[in-house]
């Protein structure tokens, strides 16, 4: 049974697209046939993060408008057999998406994929609403700061009331919290909210904590999902999150301040 997964947050710039790319790639790495759909029509980014921006011919809006078939629009990842990307249109805006159109495409994708990862745009307007409407599970991406937590809280309220599952009175969407750009040092200094604080306010299951990492920006610029960078802490943290998403119990890592080595302490090297 295909699962529709929405990556959402309310607030912009918290790492939704990075997370969509990483989680989608992680699922494909573990043998699940996965498609990542970019709902951010007009501000498409997913193709850049996935490194397939030069191969976009048809997009999501073309499929909705019956200007292209799904097979034509799906972009196959060069690295992984099981991974596909459905890019958003850069020349249109969110009004190009319709509830029926999105529903039709999701239904069609369900026929050939195990996981459909929907990369939601920021905000709580039409684009974000359509991205989460058909979802079975939601990953709420949150940064450890108050405005992001508040927006995530608002989004959780919408997930519980404005989705197809809520409207049809079915089981509610399974919600996961993914804390990104986490910096344990700043948490210790009291400059950032701790994991416990965020968990307490949002009161949902913690899927993972992704540490603030140089590797993320590097990976984005190179068009390689950060989860493929197995050396980086962020990549490992995303791998753990994917394992948890698939039902495996994993201890949370990267929550504490790294101990600096002797030389680092002497010379104050960059971490």
């Amino acid at each position: 049974m295909a699962k529709v997964l929405v990556v959402t947050s309310g607030k912009g710039g918290v790492g939704k697209t990075t997370t969509s790319a990483a989680i989608g790639t992680g699922l494909a790495l573990r043998g699940h046939k996965t498609v990542i759909v970019d709902f951010d029509v007009g501000l498409r980014n997913l193709d850049l993060i996935m490194g397939c921006e030069r191969r976009v011919v048809y997009d999501f809006v073309n499929v909705i408008n019956n200007e292209a078939t799904l097979t034509q629009a799906l972009i196959k990842d060069k690295r992984l057999e099981n991974l596909y990307v459905l890019a958003a249109s850069q020349t249109r805006d969110k009004d190009a998406l319709t509830l029926e159109g999105v529903g039709k495409v999701i239904e069609e994708l369900k026929g050939s994929f195990e996981y459909i990862v929907c990369d939601s745009p920021a905000g709580i307007e039409k684009g974000a609403h359509l991205a989460m409407y058909y979802a079975d599970e939601a990953i709420v991406v949150t940064n450890p700061e108050v405005s992001s937590v508040r927006d995530s809280d608002r989004m959780l309220g919408l997930l519980a009331s404005k989705s197809k599952r809520a409207e049809n009175g079915e089981d509610s969407i399974r919600e996961h919290l993914l804390l990104t750009r986490y910096n344990p040092e700043r948490v210790n200094k009291g400059e950032m909210l701790g994991v416990e604080d965020v968990e307490e306010i949002l009161a949902i299951r913690l899927l993972g904590v992704i540490p603030e990492s140089q590797a993320v920006l590097k990976a984005s610029n190179q068009g390689i999902p950060v989860i493929l960078d197995e050396q980086s802490d962020a990549g490992q943290a995303y791998s753990d999150a994917v394992e948890r998403l698939l039902g495996k119990e994993m201890p949370h890592r990267f929550l504490d301040v790294k101990k600096k080595g002797f030389l680092q302490r002497l010379f104050g090297g960059n971490e």
């Binding site: 809280d153 608002r154 959780l156 309220g157 307490e200 306010i201 009161a203």
Partner: protein
């Protein structure tokens, strides 16, 4: 057989006719308005059927004891048109004085007998035509008499209270941006209330999870409504329009504690549960 007839109809708590500042002209203007909109004006008619002031005094005192809240500057129409034609002349000054002592403020007279009308003119009181005129007036009079059987006094306060609806119970977290309203009753939240969420109830509000949003109890003006919460970290609490924001609440020694909040006068009391 002496009987005092006190009949009243209360359709709403608002009384537009209230207030001593009304000029003579206004009252005469109200004359026709009262006749036409008899059902909508909260007006009490004291219909005197026998000229016996000492008995009226005693019986009015009983009514006052039954419903003390009602007899408080209540606007009144004195109806003398049921008095017997050959009854002796009424001491209108004593009657007005008696009414005032029992909290009834006479706005006008309804009279038929020439000597009553003359007395009213002496006291500068407007005189309304007798009630046994047109069919419409008779219909009004029937309705006026009806509450008599059912002992009107204790019932007079009921319409003011909101009708009680079943309590609304919420088990899921109340997220920011959500607004929950329990019309005519209590609201119970068993989960957390996030910042930016708003709880409204005509009655009480209970929150058993962390309370970080806004809680407004008694939104229709019930000053007896209360707010109960296990952890007072609210953005705002309000009872019947009297409110406190987090800025003030934070300084309260009970901040973060299980508390109940009630209203006395226009002061919100926060006490530990």
């Amino acid at each position: 057989m002496l009987a005092t007839c006190l009949s009243s109809r209360y359709k709403s708590s608002a009384s537009d006719a209230r207030g001593p500042n009304m000029s003579q002209v206004d009252l005469l203007d109200n004359d026709s308005v009262f006749q036409l909109k008899g059902n909508m004006l909260a007006i009490t008619v004291l219909e005197l059927s026998r000229n016996d002031l000492s008995r009226l005094d005693r019986q009015l005192a009983q009514k006052v004891a039954q419903a003390p809240n009602f007899f408080h500057d209540t606007p009144l129409i004195l109806s003398l048109d049921k008095l017997d034609e050959d009854d002796e002349a009424l001491d209108l000054g004593a009657l007005l004085d008696l009414c005032r002592r029992h909290g009834l403020r006479t706005l006008a007279l309804r009279a038929r007998r020439p000597l009553d009308i003359r007395a009213a003119n002496d006291f500068d009181l407007p005189v309304l035509p007798p009630s046994n005129g047109t069919g419409r007036e008779r219909a009004l009079e029937l309705r006026e008499r009806e509450p008599l059987k059912a002992e009107p006094a204790p019932e007079q306060e009921k319409p003011v209270e909101p009708t009680i609806n079943p309590t609304k119970v919420i088990t899921a977290p109340v997220r920011g941006g959500m607004q929950l309203y329990a019309p005519g009753g209590d609201l119970v939240v068993l989960s957390s209330v996030s910042p930016g969420a708003e709880l409204l109830a005509d009655g009480n509000i209970h929150v058993y999870g962390p309370m970080r949003g806004r809680a407004l109890a008694g939104v229709k003006g019930d000053t007896k409504a209360r707010i109960f919460c296990q952890q007072l970290t609210a953005e705002l609490v309000s009872i019947a329009g009297q409110y406190k924001v987090a800025e003030d609440l934070r300084r309260h020694p009970q901040w973060g504690n299980p508390v109940q909040i009630s209203l006395s006068g226009d002061v919100l009391n926060i006490t530990r549960l």
